[in-house]
């Protein structure tokens, strides 16, 4: 009887605790901090990185997802362009199905010059409730979430993009303006948590 009460208590506690984790940070709320190693073996701290950059762009990426791969060139080009303007880009691979060696060779193949971290056990993906690849979060110097969503609306035809949401947000951040469209709907492959 005692054992079943204890179990009930544990279940209730878990049920009460889970919504906050499941929701992910809201726009304007503190972005969860994390510390991971980059593919180069260097330490990466979001708390430190956000303080020393105009913004940090977290990009949940994949090696095998065709949707994420359709954005490889765009991610590379945006990171190169805005990296020169004080924005730090971090690719996060949370897919349990994609080992670090594969993430490294994929980055080389596609000319990714931005920082990339592997997220063992999807811990960072869970902190942000990231569900898709690609999925973008922008963190400001104050550590708060500024933008969450997609890169743009057109997966297959970069030349026909009509709503470059990530670039728009970055331009507004660099101009010292609030991001007008701070939340868009990320779409793509599911992050492989098993």
């Amino acid at each position: 009887m005692k054992a079943s009460r204890a179990l009930l208590f544990l279940l209730l506690t878990a049920a009460l605790a889970s919504p906050a984790l499941a929701d992910g940070p809201a726009i304007g709320a503190p972005a969860p901090t994390f510390d991971l190693k980059t593919l180069d073996g260097k330490p990466f701290s979001l708390a430190d990185a956000s303080k020393s950059n105009k913004a940090v762009v977290l990009m949940f990426i994949a090696t095998k997802c065709p949707v994420s791969n359709a954005y490889n060139d765009r991610m590379r080009d945006i990171a190169n362009e805005y990296g020169k303007k004080g924005i730090l880009f971090v690719g996060i691979n949370s897919n349990n199905t994609e080992p670090e060696s594969e993430v490294r060779s994929h980055a080389t193949e596609h000319g990714f010059a931005f920082t990339i971290v592997k997220d063992p056990g999807n811990k960072v993906a869970d902190l942000y409730n990231a569900q898709h690849t690609p999925e973008i979060f922008i963190v400001g110097p104050d550590g708060k979430l500024i933008y969450h969503g997609r890169i743009d609306e057109n997966q297959q035809e970069p030349a026909k993009v009509a709503s470059p949401d990530l670039k728009n947000a970055l331009n507004e951040i660099l101009a010292g303006q609030p991001v007008a469209k701070a939340e868009t709907k990320a779409f793509g492959c599911s992050i492989k948590r098993v």
């Binding site: 065709p66 997966q155 035809e157 709503s163 868009t184 779409f187 492959c189």
Partner: protein, 178 residues
């Protein structure tokens, strides 16, 4: 002339036109009569709504899949079995490939290998992908496989996200047949 023909055949525009004609030809073909099975055509948000509406009076199961999606391929045989079992009881199954246009040959190869007896479409490429995704389900983020069930009156009744078993497909369908 011969040289001209050669250069035309090498011209990407002519190749694109030939591919488009081929695709239109495939789209115009009967959905079931062809052997091996062919694509029923491309569709956008309106095309999907029309395809569902054409099956008014039936329970309609729309399955979104892609050749690169392993769980999609794994559950596909269950959809084929389900459609065969329930087609005479008022169930229609529609497949929608989310593969990119460049992967049309892979889609056709998959259909030829699996022989579905229900129509399969490809999502029309270009445009606002989010419009299409939202038209299917506001909570959908494009992850695959994804299945939507419509009741006999055409209203959306249920969504099934992720890989399903035959039993879960069957349960969802039979609940709507009652």
């Amino acid at each position: 002339m011969r040289n001209g023909s050669k250069s035309e055949s090498r011209n990407p525009k002519w190749r694109a036109a030939a591919a488009a004609l081929l695709f239109v030809g495939l789209a115009a073909a009967p959905a079931f009569a062809a052997d091996p099975p062919r694509l029923a055509g491309e569709l956008d948000a309106k095309g999907l709504a029309d395809a569902v509406a054409r099956n008014h009076g039936k329970v309609v199961l729309v399955n979104f899949w892609a050749t690169w999606c392993v769980p999609c391929r794994e559950e596909y045989s269950d959809l084929i079995r389900l459609e065969k079992t329930y087609r005479d009881r008022g169930v229609a199954v529609l497949g929608v490939s989310i593969d990119f246009a460049k992967d049309l040959p892979k889609v056709e190869k998959f259909l030829a290998a699996n022989h579905p007896e229900f129509p399969n479409y490809m999502k029309r490429s270009g445009g606002d992908d989010q419009d299409f995704i939202d038209s299917v389900d506001k909570k959908w983020g494009g992850e695959l496989p994804f299945t939507v069930l419509y009741a006999r009156d055409g209203t959306k009744a249920r969504v099934l996200s992720g890989k399903q078993t035959y039993a879960s497909f069957e349960k969802a369908v039979t609940e709507l047949l009652r």
